[in-house]
């Protein structure tokens, strides 16, 4: 099976500082790969090289049979990779429907004049959310009235709705309470069932073990080790994060 995404020899230098030295890994469809590592290990830099924000100094990324390196963030999204940042990039004052369609709104014409089709967008949002196992109490309420887990679900719904094949999630549970963290974990499992590949950035051990099919530990800009959750322990992952070589 060819992997969904393959990163080969990624390197990024900022001035004299080498943030990422040599990173190789693959992600398969329907698989959740966790990029684990301490602050400054290079997790974010790796993600930004995939999502098109940074151009790698060396190395390349292949996705779904095409070369991804050199594409703009827009191009990467069109190719089928959706990145969900910690701030979720939601417009808090708009309802879930408008957030789902932001930038690609549904329009209907009345007497030749274009009007937003708010009702249709709301219906679609409620449906996509239902598919993720979340029932919205009031589909017309602005997103700021929703819980942290529900807001995360809208960001994920956006990826699902626009047919993303790979979703990158940056510390999705960092700002959430325990019940909401569980909701997000459930969302990740549903995404996997849909055959979506996931790259999850985290340094939270329970999250890592709950979500990962494979754990890739970054330390000082290189892959310090790759483990399956069943074959490793908390202590080993921490040791790898600290930079000990296995």
């Amino acid at each position: 099976m060819t992997p969904l995404l393959e990163a080969r020899g990624l390197k990024k230098r900022f001035g004299g500082n080498e943030a990422v030295s040599d990173v190789n890994f693959v992600v398969n469809a329907g698989e959740c790969v966790v990029l684990a590592g301490d602050n400054g290990a290079g997790k974010s830099t790796v993600i930004k090289m995939i999502s098109g924000v940074h151009a790698p100094t060396a190395g390349e990324v292949h996705f779904d049979g095409e070369l991804l390196t050199g594409k703009t963030p827009e191009g990467v999204r069109t190719a089928g990779i959706e990145t969900i940042y910690q701030d979720l990039s939601l417009a808090d004052n708009l309802d879930p429907g408008l957030n789902l369609y932001l930038g690609r709104e549904k329009i209907r014409h009345v007497l030749g004049l274009p009007f937003l089709d708010r009702a249709a967008m709301r219906r679609d949002a409620a449906e996509v959310m239902k598919g993720l196992g979340i029932e919205l109490p009031d589909p017309a309420a602005p997103v700021r009235d929703l819980s942290g887990g529900q807001r995360q679900a809208i960001a994920i719904a956006r990826a699902v709705h626009w047919q993303a094949k790979l979703v990158i999630m940056d510390e999705p549970t960092a700002a959430l309470g325990v019940p909401e963290q569980r909701e997000v974990m459930a969302l990740i499992h549903r995404l996997k069932e849909k055959g979506v590949g996931i790259i999850l950035i985290s340094h939270n051990l329970p999250d890592i073990f709950a979500a990962a099919d494979r754990i890739i530990v970054l330390a000082r800009g290189v892959v310090g080790g790759e483990r399956r959750p069943a074959e490793t322990t908390d202590e080993e992952i921490v040791r790898l994060m600290m930079g000990a070589h296995a």
């Binding site: 939601l90 417009a91 004052n93 708009l94 408008l98 930038g103 690609r104 937003l116 700021r144």
Partner: protein, 334 residues
């Protein structure tokens, strides 16, 4: 926010949402009772009074419409006061150059020239904010000065008076019994309301006010959006200048100065917030009417006209307090 807000809290919230309507009803009732008791006359049910209020409100409103869009996007446009003046002076100069025989064609060309001058200011504002990342408060304060200077320079420091029946008709004529400025204000309000609530442009404006990242990552061209917003703001300010020149048969550099603050106030009384992301055209319309009622009502009741500044100032403070308690009730903006 709690999952089940109590009945009292949700009632309070809806009251806060319609406070400007209540406030308008309250001051209308106040002036009506005052008129009945003091003079035995009616305040509200007299065509002359209503017309005066409508014209005063229209002048504020036309200036405030484009500004509402800019404020919803989380920015501000202070230059509009003198964009109005610049458009007024340019229109008057073109008519004057054409001589006393200037017909409709000249007047229309003069109006286009006035709008064009306004658009230039709008483009500069948009460019400063979108491309040079200048905070809009500072950037438009700069163009406020530039527009003011430009208007004074081209007008030679004086008021440019004109003699043109066509121009007078723009400011003082009627359309189906309604004064032209009122009709213009209504038409522009409908257009701006449509733009803000029914188009992609409107959604992106609200989203930009809430979080720039949300629109940027949605692939929206934020720079283009910002330039469009400042140009619309300049155009409505320019139109208010054209009406000024028509009304007074003269273009003056400071045409918009006395109502700039009122226009800003109308937007905030109407429910907009300095942090962006909220505000409506309906709200701004109510805000402009409230200010016009206060202005005219105080004159009507024989108080020295200076009291209107105090009264409008107090209303602005109330509007901000209402906005703050609303923000607190929805659990703050994150």
């Amino acid at each position: 926010m709690p999952a089940n807000p109590s009945l009292a809290a949700s009632l309070l919230k809806s009251l806060l949402n319609i406070w400007s309507w209540l406030f308008l009803a309250l001051i209308l009732a106040f002036f009506e009772i005052y008129a009945q008791v003091e003079t035995g006359n009616t305040f509200l049910f007299r065509v002359y009074n209503l017309q005066s209020i409508a014209i005063a409100a229209s002048q504020i409103l036309i200036l405030a419409l484009g500004l509402t869009l800019v404020i919803v996007a989380g920015h501000i446009d202070l230059s509009i006061g003198f964009t109005t003046g610049l458009a007024a002076v340019v229109m008057a100069l073109v008519i004057r150059w054409a001589g006393p025989e200037a017909g409709w064609l000249t007047v229309i060309a003069a109006m286009l020239a006035g709008i064009l001058a306004a658009v230039v200011i709008g483009l500069v504002n948009g460019w400063l904010v979108a491309y040079l990342d200048v905070p809009s408060f500072i950037g438009t304060l700069g163009t406020y000065g530039v527009a003011r200077g430009a208007a004074l320079i081209v007008a030679g420091g004086a008021t440019v008076s004109i003699r043109s029946d066509e121009a007078r008709a723009i400011g003082n004529g009627d359309i189906a019994g309604f004064p032209v400025p009122v009709v213009v204000a209504i038409v522009l309000s409908v257009i701006c309301h449509y733009l803000l609530t029914h188009t992609k442009f409107g959604v992106h404006t609200y989203a930009l006010g809430a979080s720039r990242a949300s629109v940027e990552r949605a692939g929206v061209d934020v720079k283009r959006l910002l330039i469009l917003l400042f140009v619309i703001s300049a155009v409505t300010a320019g139109i208010s200048g054209l009406i000024y020149t028509g009304r007074f048969s003269a273009g003056a550099a400071n045409a918009g100065e006395p109502i700039l603050l009122y226009a800003v106030a109308a937007v905030f009384i109407g429910g907009a917030s300095l942090t962006g992301g909220q505000g409506t055209i309906t709200g701004t319309v109510i805000g402009a009417i409230i200010i016009a009622v206060i202005q005219f009502g105080l004159v009507f009741s024989g108080l020295p006209p200076y009291w209107q500044f105090v009264a409008v100032g107090l209303v602005i403070i109330v509007a901000v307090l209402v906005d703050q308690s609303k923000t607190r009730m929805i659990g703050g903006r994150t």
